[in-house]
Amino acid sequence: MSGFSTAMPTSYKAELAQALHNHTITTGHDFRCALGVASPAGTFDATTTNYSSLGSDELAATGGYATGGFDFTAANNITPIGSAGTAYWQWGINPSWTSATFSTSGCLIYNATSGNRAVYVGSFGGTQTVSAGTLTLVMPTNGATTSLLRIQ
């Protein structure tokens, strides 16, 4: 079924063990968050491996959206830490778009420093629409049971 399903890509888990992703604050890699269209033709889930998979299912570069999406910058990486058997990490800023007019149903976070490899696929649980306004993706609290990215 086409659309976005929230998942940590399987390829990302394997790539972590190959040192292809560095989430260290300031000195790590540059991650970005691209938005998908409201009704994508493709399927985006744990099998998604790369930003290039998004293709024409990424929002068009109009209405306050620039191709490639929101740039977290390495300054906003949160260095991974571990607690009670779980390693967790995410970012210290919520991706936001201003002067925005679009509809979206999901996102793809990818590593712009490391071959645009997929890091996280997110579903918004339905279509989110903004009109000449601001859309913000709100990070959960960074913690062992709540972070966007966790490995147990």
Binding site: T98, C107, A132, G133, T134, M139
Partner: protein
């Protein structure tokens, strides 16, 4: 874990009360059902969340006004310190007081507030362009 989504139609970014709701919801986590004093802690958490939604609006408004005057990227320590003091003042004398006084909890509060203030500053920087 999923992203939440916050949308505001029209210019000017999100209003401070919306940022305050998001921040309060991230700062107050409902107790697990099996913890001792669950009912009392649950009630205290609900009240704290309501109080923080109101109290944090002022702090988010301060951040907004600061962001409108400057292009600062990182949150001011003063804004973070004041917000943390405000949060702790609402837990004084409640069953949650000792929890919100713990150094590791204060550190998490600081990280949550920094994330939300940084986001707000980013939005207003973009709006100024």
């Amino acid at each position: 874990m999923r992203f939440g989504v916050m949308t505001t139609h029209g210019p000017g970014g999100h209003p401070s009360w919306k940022h305050a709701e998001v921040t309060a919801d991230k700062l107050v986590i409902d107790p697990e059902a099996n913890v001792p004093d669950y009912a009392a802690k649950s009630e205290a958490a609900a009240m704290l969340r309501r109080n923080l939604r109101e109290a944090l609006e002022k702090h988010h408004e301060d951040v907004k006004q600061h962001a409108l005057k400057t292009n600062a990227v990182e949150p001011e320590s003063q804004h973070l310190d004041e917000a943390i003091a405000s949060i702790q003042s609402f837990t004084k004398g409640t069953i949650l007081e000792s929890h919100y006084a713990q150094p590791e909890v204060v550190q998490v509060m600081r990280e949550v507030l920094a994330c939300e203030f940084r986001t707000q500053q980013y939005i207003h920087r973009q709006e100024r362009k």
